[in-house]
Assembly symmetry: D2
Homo-oligomer: 301 residues x 4
């Protein structure tokens, strides 16, 4: 269970008292504020705050005194145009602040997106909770035999059991020892900033993460992608749902032009043009490497 | 007058209908939303949106499930501690979005602060208004004789008149010609993206500017400083007032530890320590250059 | 002429004395160091320094102790893979420092690329030279009738003459007045930081601009594009030639996968797949707007 | 021993063949290129590349065609002026690329400095080495009793032995299990991207880290500070030595104005002024909190 009764009470308190504001309000996002969206076995994503909505994107694009365009329909058209033509600054005018709980090895990937603000729970200052990510059976995957950076089928039988047992017992032992070392009961107690080094990378950490919509969509394009590691992809998937409710026009445009789109190289475009003219193009006549040719076949279905 | 009746009507419309939100609300900032704060002869600053308040700084610093600290008093203490010890990330968790109208030569200084989001009114796409900054009499200053990068006393008499006349007539003529060139009345009309090159740097432009509180305070420290050029300082001064109403604890700490503070070099500290022990320190015995010594004298009153 | 004899002497002095280094050296770039590459009527681009070469991209991608991969051929293959799959960090490991002279209205577009370091010649501190961009006859273009943000055919006849005359005489007059105002001959002299406001946007400025290769390629993709304004595109074109000599493998991959490539939306991909299966797809059956359909037709030739 | 014979051979090969360059060369830095500077028990810092030198800072500040100022003496004066008055952009014109080997928990602090380029050795793609940081006896410190975020005296006797034993045996066991899980000997073998989660935070990782001089000095000011955790401070200390040899004027100015300097608040300045006039100021009459007063006493010696 990712949240204690005390924490739930804090959340309920924050949701209890709506206050009036003159700012842009997204009803779709208000419904999500502060609530826990569980991810993995102990993680979550929750919205702490947001700035702007679909109309705010248009308002900024037009540097206007009032709202965005004259009509909601025009807003959608303008947003689709901006997305299609890679205009990034109007999307930067919306901002999202999340509270995320996630395993350390996921946090290490996540933090590589530099254009965001982060406050992480400090294991130098505080004591971490005893919570570790243990993969579910279907995600306990073998190394991919074709891709160094991927996974194959799920492990089964004795091997799966052995792995699960290792992950659980090592995490438990390391945490027991962490507690032993920092304890000041009958001893001095090791400094927290040192003791944390004994904790494995599947321990959970937490942070506040704040990012503008343009950079968030870039993050989602990379991390909600099929090639992203499963453990970060599930966070991206969850955030996608929140964004779809927050700025529905922008999210739809993102799906159409980014997530569902593909970039074709000059050589790939040339092949497509020749094929559309009726030419029978093969890898040999394509001017592309075997690998690029295979990738193009996948794109063209 | 910096705003037309139509624009005022748009502003009034935005201020007419408060809506309920669960987000952090700063009453001090709600009072400012959308209103025009005039700066210089045709410029302004107005708040389009904000995220967070003083409590949100503490909430992020503590990566908490609920509000900031247990009491408002604790919030202030924590904020002062964070500011004093140069913790920047909790202040990054608040965000401000402004609509600013400003002369181009001011915009060129302003944009050098890179950690912000900007949407500028496009003179490639649209036609600029006929509005130019003309300094008031007391700001029509002579070149400083001691500082290449500063001003001295205000010009007076015939020289002042001549300068004002030049600034006004050149701006007017350049704008007339700008209109003539883009006109398609009886001619093709020059492309807007070219015609704009005829406009002088005191023409007004507009942009939406969005920045987090940490970077905003850094901007204000440099631009509300006595050494900043007057024409950007008046914008910074106006924004200072808005920030003071938005996050009063953070702004007070900023005044005490940043705006009102001074950084002393190792040599300067050494001098102060010796002086406090009763030693008579002179520039010769200070180990500092004449210029640094003079700067220290100013700091020490 | 973009460079004085004194400046040329400074350049010659810098090119006169090669010194030994253990760092990665790109012979293609050494040939360009410090030399003037003219752009527009008074502008230029010149290389002040660079860091890294093609091998350095691979070396960083592999976090290696020695050089990049085992062979030059492998280097090229790895670089193409990294470019194709949007790996950005290895390209960030190369850096370029340029000295650029450019009209102010071009500088204002350029500076919107925030991920770069800039030192601009200060008109607050120094006096600007009397140099203005005046378009050549073939670039004195009319406003586009189909695109607010574009140009049509070149102006001709009396209109062209009138426009040229305006641009030249307004620039000359504004500069004369700039000099008059700052002169301290028989008067106090207006502060430089104020006098500069009288100068039009086609005056030339200069800066040092330093950027990593990943962000440089992003800049080039947008600014060497056919939709970019001509006056910034010629700078991008010139830089492209320098990059091609500096990191030839990376530049070739950039041409194939970025400049020559196109991103197709989900709907466009669907159309292409249907067309390849022999279906006759029209705009009506494409699920795309008229504008998007037209854009797709252009891509597919 | 932080480097294998093969790695040493790669380093020797890189140092064997100096090549001519026209770029700015820092002899002090050439001597360091590629060599290993050991840090902690298995870590190191080594310089892979650099751009610029002291003169390059001045050259950029003056946007000049040739070298920096007319004389080396003027270079030093200008650099000290720029540092004293917080001019950051000229320092951004120098760049440093390091190869660093460091424990993961140190890497997690380090990466929070966002304005840098990073390529980290991927444990998703590759297999990590069996190398863990184990503190030396004098750094096996107890938790500070006055500062949650600090350490006290070194542990002694049985407690120290127990802690060392835990750290060593847990690291060894976790690594053994990591190897067991990824082995494909008689089993499928767990995906690397999953197996890595079993490794504790004192395992060593490696990265290429590239940063400009301004941001590097900011990093050093925070991480070479007495309040930084020892395990990152030793890296900062080592980098300080490299920078001192690379850009000696800039480093000296950094020591005088940043590392050896202190920022006094408005209230602290007021106290100092009153004390210099002979007034007996106490905490009660200082207008400062007890903590701030104590901090001021420390600064004033």
């Amino acid at each position: 269970m990712p949240v204690t009764p005390e924490q739930q009470a804090e959340i309920d308190a924050l949701r209890a008292n709506p206050r009036p504001t003159l700012r842009a309000v997204s009803d779709g996002m208000e419904a999500h504020l502060y609530t826990i969206n569980p991810v993995l076995d102990h993680g979550f994503v929750r919205v702490i705050d947001y700035m702007g909505d679909d109309a705010a994107i248009c308002q900024a694009a037009r540097v206007s005194y009032g709202k965005g365009t004259k009509s909601v329909q025009n807003d959608e058209g303008l947003i689709r145009y901006l997305m299609r033509h890679w205009h990034s600054t109007p999307f930067e005018m919306c901002e999202l602040k999340l509270h995320v709980k996630l395993p350390v090895f996921v946090a290490r990937q996540w933090i590589r997106h530099r254009t965001a603000n982060v406050n992480e729970y400090s294991a130098r200052y505080s004591i971490l909770d005893r919570e570790f990510y243990i993969p579910s059976a279907d995600q306990l995957a073998a190394q991919s035999s074709i891709n160094n950076q991927g996974r194959g089928e799920a492990l089964t039988g004795a091997e799966a059991e052995r792995v699960l047992d290792i992950l659980k017992s090592d995490a438990a032992r390391c945490y027991d020892h962490y507690q032993d070392m920092i304890s000041d009961d009958g001893q001095q107690g090791l400094a927290r900033e040192l003791a944390r080094m004994n904790l494995p990378a599947n321990i959970y950490t937490q942070w506040y993460w704040k990012v503008d919509l343009h950079n968030l969509l870039h993050f989602l394009r990379l991390r909600a992608d099929a090639h992203a590691q499963y453990e970060i992809r599930v966070y991206a998937d969850e955030i996608c749902k929140l964004v779809a409710d927050w700025v529905p026009f922008a999210y739809k445009a993102f799906e159409d032009y980014r997530m569902g789109g593909e970039t074709l190289s000059a050589a790939a475009l040339d092949c497509v043009r020749r094929m559309l003219k009726g030419e029978e193009v093969t890898q040999e006549t394509s001017g592309m490497s075997a690998r690029e040719w295979r990738e193009l076949q996948e794109v063209l279905g």
